[in-house]
């Protein structure tokens, strides 16, 4: 026969342990739970996990812009800036720079007709007045005509780059 244990004592221990346990769980949840808030007060549109804002800001930038390419490829940049393709981005045709030249080492271009036809294929409703050319010494007006061709009749068997230089525009 073991020592007598009173029921009240057991109940008291159970109650204390459960209170401490629940408090511990709440405390742990407060420490490791994501924080939610509504900053401007309109909770209908604002309630969110705050850490997510920074997660979106931390995404890597892939396109670097013409100024990035200019750093090493200044001669090519100068030729393009003087041409009618001045506002076309390097990355439009060469793809995103990512962290070139570390990775990728080279940026390739798809020299097929499809890339040029995006802009230069004639469509009856394609606007032909281009207003974005930077004004320069030899180009006082920012306006020019977008040259369009019929892809079925204009040398359909050849690549555009056979005769045209996209960095210079016009004929090679």
């Amino acid at each position: 026969m073991g020592k007598e244990i009173r029921l009240g004592k057991i109940v008291m221990y159970v109650v204390i342990i459960s209170i401490v346990g629940v408090a511990g769980l709440i405390g742990a949840r407060m420490l490791i739970a994501p924080s939610f808030s509504a900053v401007e007060g309109d909770y209908r549109y604002q309630w969110h996990r705050v850490a997510n804002e920074q997660e979106w800001k931390d995404i890597k930038v892939k396109h670097q812009g013409n100024s990035y390419c200019k750093g090493c490829h200044s001669d090519q940049d100068a030729r393009v800036a003087a041409s009618e393709h001045a506002k076309v981005q390097c990355e439009n045709c060469h793809g995103a720079a990512y962290s070139h030249p570390e990775d990728p080492k080279k940026l390739s271009v798809d020299k097929g007709r499809g890339l040029c036809l995006r802009c230069h294929a004639y469509l009856p409703y394609r606007p032909d007045t281009y207003t974005e050319l930077p004004v320069q010494e030899n180009r006082p007006q920012p306006i020019s005509k977008l040259k369009m061709i019929n892809p079925d009749t204009h040398n359909p068997d050849m690549g555009c780059v056979t005769c045209h230089d996209p960095h210079k525009t016009g004929f090679k």
């Binding site: 204390i16 209170i19 401490v20 408090a23 511990g24 709440i26 405390g27 742990a28 407060m30 420490l31 924080s35 939610f36 900053v39 401007e40 209908r44 549109y45 604002q46 309630w47 969110h48 996990r49 997510n52 804002e53 997660e55 979106w56 800001k57 931390d58 995404i59 890597k60 930038v61 892939k62 396109h63 812009g65 393709h85 506002k87 076309v88 981005q89 990355e91 439009n92 793809g95 995103a96 499809g114 036809l117 995006r118 802009c119 294929a121 469509l123 009856p124 409703y125 394609r126 606007p127 281009y130 207003t131 974005e132 977008l146 892809p151």
Partner: protein, 256 residues
Amino acid sequence: MEHSRRDFLKAGLVTIAGLSVPLGAFKFLTPEAAAGIAKNIAVRWVFVVDATKCIGCGMCVKACQTENELPYSENLARTWVERYTVKKDGHVLVDSPKQARDGFIRNNPLGLDIPKADIAKGFFVPKLCNQCDQPPCVEVCPVGATYKTPDGVVLVDRKWCIGCAICISNCPYGARFLHPTLMVVEKCNFCYHRITKNLKTACVEACAFGARMIGNIKDFDDPVAKIIREERVAILKGDYNTKPQVFYIGLDQTVK
């Protein structure tokens, strides 16, 4: 050493009191945040689309796919360009082949060969998420995974989204879609990772025709804010009362 019941209870109460202080009480403001509060820098992003300048080259869509890691094969991008072909008999054909990822090279709206003589007018309308001020998508999220940031961009919390797609069906503009691999909701977020670093969005940078512009409406001198203030602009689906923040120049009555 003897511990009485009283000592045990005292220790327990102290522990509980200590655990109830949330970790947030120990957070300190970063210098940037404090400076922002001091200078009252306000940013509220707005977008202007000049539909008269868009020629339908689809470079914006191509750049968006790369910048936002959407696979080329999936015919999905966060922005798209619609081609409207209005025929002389009044029919309007609207198409966006592969979301204009490869541009528009042929006069074949909806795959049909419409002769030029039958066309009254045609034009291109780039579209993207309007980052509404009263977004119907945010209102219906059952788990609070999507929200509007203080600078006006509607974001989706990929870790919290359960992929129920109620928001996708509730967006009147069709701007939301299910990410093909992550199975959470995806949409244009004005390239939030770029604009918060003082860069332009991928689509704005890719457009050589000046059809897309992004700016800060709270900055009086911002050229985009000036356009919205002084020129004639329109919004899409105004009757839905979503208060969209993308404004269009040259919007036609046939554009839905």
